[in-house]
Symmetry: D2
Subunit: 283 residues, 4 copies
C-alpha cells in the first residue's frame, strides 16, 4: 500500500476552510488520507501542508495532475510525489570519507528509498571505497583555473543520469552560481558548525578559538551564497577545554554524519518544504 | 480569536475517509480549522486526532455537543474543550518545594491557562511560600492510620472547588485506589527516575547504586498502581562517578521541574490523549 | 571539613614536574589534597590546575599567602580561595523576572555558597519579588543621558557592599567600558543565543528569521565588548517551524535560567579559570 | 612522545597524602606527569586515580613493574599500560551489521589504537563485509546443543590470537559463565535499551509497549549475568507515538553505534576503572 501513495507539499496564502477543502478534494476522488500535517505562519498569513493519501485504484497520475491544478486554483504552490518513485541521487565527495560511508551504508541497508546513481569527486581517494559498494565513481578534477570546465562536466553527468538530488558529503569545492542555476534541483550540504556561527572555512578552528562549549553541524540546501541557504537539520555536542582542534574534528565527524543522514532522509520522504530562506520540516 | 476555539481529541477504529469527514463536519457548520494533527497506529488499527477550530459565531456550545454526537456516530471516543475554559487545578505538595515554586511561577507569569485554586499538603512547610503567591493552602495530615480520613477530606475539598486536574508536585504520599476512583479526573505525577527503571522509593539511590550514566525524570498520569500509568514526558541528564547521591538529588530537581512543567502545559493545552496505558502527545 | 579547604586556580608556562611539585608543596606543609584537576594546552604550552586541599590545622591563611608566593616562583598566576569564604554577590535585573526568581530560589535553598547582598535594577518592577525573598532592592534608573551618573551610583553601591560578583540576570542596559574598569571584578551575563551566533539585540527574532533548528543561551563573563567575553556555559533546545518568536522566548527562558544558574554555580565553586578570551571549567 | 607514556589506573583505601605520594614516586624517577585525574568516593572511603606520565628515557618497563609494587605497598590495586602497546581486539557479530561497520570504519580511520585481529560470528552473513575491510572472519556456529563446543572453539581462537578485548557488536548469543571465567579478560557488550529498563529480549518492543518517550542504549562490561555488568556509557534519543517498533529499531541503530563506539574508545585509552559493579570513567 505504501508503494502507491501520493505526497503533496503545498503552501500559499492562508484562507478559511482550506484544510477541509483539501481533504474533500481527495475524498471525493476516492482517495484515503493517511497523514496530513499543516502549519500556519500566523504573522505571514501563510498556510503549509504535507498530505499523504492512497489514491483510488489507478488514479495516481490523474490525482497528481489534478491536485496541482486544484492547488493552483487556491493560489497555492504545490509539489506532488509518488512514493513509488525512487529519486536519483548523486553524492559529491573530496577526501573525507565519514559522511560518504555513512550515506552509502544507510542506502545499502535500505534506509533510503532512492537510487544512488553516482559518486562524483575532485579526487581519486574514495574510488576504491565507492567501488566496494558497487557505486560508479566519477573523478572530475577542479582547480581555480578549471572550475568552469569541471562544473560543466559535472552538470553534463547529472543531466545524463537525470539526477534529482545532489548531496555534498564534505565536498570541499565551492559550487558557482552558474552551477546552481543550471542544475536547478536540490543540493544538500553539510557544514561543520552550528550556522550561522562559524560560516566559511575551518569552522572547528574558529570554534576552538572562540572557546564555545558546544560544537555543531548544519545540513542545509546549498545556494550560491556560501553556508547560507535554508537549514534542514542541526545538532550539537558538548566539548570542553580538554578537546583540542583534533578532538573537535573527530567529535564533529559523528555530528556531521548524523545531521546529514537525517536531512537526506527527510528530503527523500518529501518532508521538507522550502519557504523563503527557511524550511518547514513535517517530521 | 484564540479565546474562542474548540479543541477535540478523538480516537477509535481507523476507517477510510475519516480525515475528510471530520474536516467536512466542521466546515459545513461554518468552522475554520486552525490545526489538525492525526496519527494512525497501523498495527492496532486505531486513528487518533487532535483538531482545533474556530466555530461559527456563537456556535461554541452547539459545536461541542454536536461534535461529540458526530464522533459517537463514527464509533470514536472524543473529548471537546473550549480554549476559553480555564481548568481548575490543585497542586499537592509535601516538603520539597522546587516543583511547587516552578509551577507557581509559571502560572503567575501566565504560561498556564488555568486557575490554580488550591495547594494541598500533608505538612505546613510550604504554607508561607504558597501564601506569598496568594494561593490558598490546605493542610491535611496523612499517616498510615489517618489515610482514609485524610483522603476523604482531600476528595471533599477537590469536589467543593470543582478541581479538574491534580498535580502531585513531589507529594510524598501514595494515593489509594479509592482516591483515584472517587476523584475520577486526571492526576499528574512526577517520578524522579527514567521509568520503568527505578520505580518505587529512593530512585536516586537506586541509580547511584546501579552506576547509570544518565538520570531521568518521568511525568505520568498517576493510577492506583505506583509509578505506573501513562507516561506524558521524560527527560534525562548526564551524571558521572563524581556525582554522589546528593548531586543526583540536586541535578534531578532541575529535571523534575522541567519535565513536570512540560507535562502540565501539554495537558492544559489538550495535547495529551490517553490510550491504553500510553499517551499520544500532539505537540 | 569542607568548610576549611583551600582551592587554588593556577596557570602558566608548562614545565616538567609541575604536578609533583605542587602536590609536594601542599604535602610538606601537612595539607591533604582532596581534588586536583589539571589541563595542558599542548599547542600553547600552558599548564592549568585546580587543586583543593585541607590545610594543616590553623594553616589556612599561611597556606594562602605561601601558595601565591610559591606559584609566583614557578612563573604561574594563581588565585586561592578559602571554601569558608562566602563571596558577596549582587544581581542586576530589569523587568524580566525568570532568571531572578531562579537564582533567588537556588540561593534560598542553599545551592549557592554566597551572600546575596543586593538586587540592583533600573526599574521598580521586581521590587516586591525581591523584598519577598528578603533581599535589599536598589532602584538606579539609567537612560542614555544619565548612564554615567547611574553607573557611578552602581559602582558606589557595589563598593560599599564589597560586592565580589555581579550577575546580570537579563539586565537590559549595556554597561560601559568605565564600569568594567572601575568594578574590576567578575561580571557574569546571560545572553539569549548560542554565541557567537545572534549577538546583539533581539536574538530570538534573529533566530526565527534565520530558521535555525536549535536555539541557545550563553553565560559568559561580560566585558566592555558586547556579547563577547569568555564563555562559561552554553546550552541549546530544539525548535521547529511551529514555534513562533513568542514560543522561542518562552522556551528560551528555561534555557537562560539553567545556563546562568550553572555558570554562577561553577564560578562560586572556583571552577572557572579565565585564560585569554576563553575559560577552563574544572567541573 | 605520546607513544611512550604509561597510564596507571589505581584504586584502594583513601589515605592522606596519596596524591602527593603518587606524584612524588613518578617525579623522583625522572617521569613527567602529563595527566592526573582522581576521584574519592567519600562514602566508601575509596580513592581512584588515572595518571599518565612520560617515564625517564628507557624506563618504561622498570616504571611499570615498580609502580605496581609501589601501589601494592599503598594497599592499592593498579593496572599499568604502555600507550605504545596496541591491544588485540576481536569483534563478535551475528547478522546485524551496523555496529560492526561503525567499529571497523573507526578502526580503519585510525580512531582506535588497537589491532583488530578477528571477527567471530555464528553466521556467515558478514563475511564479505569483513573481508572487504581485510579482516579475518571466523564462523563458529552456536546452537543450544553446540554451545559448549562452540564456546570452546571461540576460547581457543581468542587464546591463539592473544585477544585482550572482545566487543559484542550485537552478537545475539548469550555467553556462558564458563566463557567469562575462562576468557578472564574484558568483554564489552551493547544492549539496546537504557538499562536497567528493558533488560532481556526485544527491548524496543518492550519500550514501545510501555510508551516511553526516550529510547536508549547501554554499553557495559558483560558478565555471566545477562544485561548486568558495569555500565560504561549510555545515551538516549527522543521518540514519539509516531514511531512504531520499526522506527525505534532504526533510530536505535544510531544510538547503539555511538554508545558502543564511545565505550570501546574509552576502554582502549585506559579510561575505565571497574569498581564493584560500577565504572569510574576518566574522560
Amino acid at each position: 500500500m505504501s508503494s502507491s501513495t501520493l505526497v503533496a507539499l503545498l503552501h500559499g496564502p492562508d484562507q478559511p476552510g482550506i484544510v477541509a477543502r483539501v481533504a474533500a478534494w481527495i475524498f471525493e476522488r476516492g482517495g484515503n488520507i493517511l497523514h496530513a500535517d499543516q502549519h500556519r505562519d500566523m504573522e505571514a498569513g501563510v498556510f503549509f501542508q504535507r498530505i499523504e493519501w492512497v489514491p483510488a485504484q489507478g488514479a495516481s497520475s490523474t490525482d497528481t495532475a489534478g491536485f496541482l491544478a486544484f492547488a493552483d486554483s487556491l493560489g497555492m504552490q504545490a509539489r506532488v510525489t509518488a512514493s513509488a518513485h525512487r529519486p536519483r541521487m548523486a553524492i559529491f565527495v573530496s577526501k573525507f570519507d565519514h559522511c560518504f560511508h555513512d550515506l552509502a551504508l544507510r542506502w545499502k541497508s535500505g534506509e533510503y528509498a532512492c537510487d544512488l546513481v553516482a559518486v562524483v569527486s575532485n579526487h581519486t581517494d574514495l574510488e576504491t571505497a565507492a567501488r566496494g559498494y558497487g557505486l560508479p565513481y566519477h573523478v572530475i578534477p577542479v582547480t581555480a583555473a578549471t572550475k568552469p570546465a569541471g562544473e560543466a562536466r559535472q552538470l553534463a553527468l547529472l543531466r545524463d543520469l537525470d539526477v534529482e538530488l545532489v548531496v555534498l558529503a564534505r565536498y570541499m569545492q565551492v559550487l558557482s552560481d552558474t552551477f546552481f542555476k543550471k542544475f536547478a534541483r536540490p543540493v544538500i550540504n553539510i557544514h561543520h558548525s552550528f550556522l550561522p556561527a562559524f560560516a566559511g572555512g575551518k569552522p572547528y578552528h574558529q570554534a576552538a578559538e572562540r572557546g564555545v562549549k558546544l560544537i555543531g553541524a548544519t545540513a542545509h540546501y546549498a545556494t550560491a551564497v556560501l553556508d547560507d541557504g535554508p537549514i534542514i537539520q542541526q545538532d550539537v555536542t558538548r566539548v570542553t577545554h580538554r578537546h583540542g582542534v583534533e578532538d573537535l574534528v573527530r567529535k564533529g565527524r559523528d555530528l556531521e554524519k548524523m545531521v546529514l543522514a537525517q536531512a537526506v532522509r527527510w528530503h527523500l520522504e518529501s518532508r521538507v518544504l522550502v519557504y523563503g530562506n527557511k524550511t518547514v520540516v513535517f517530521d
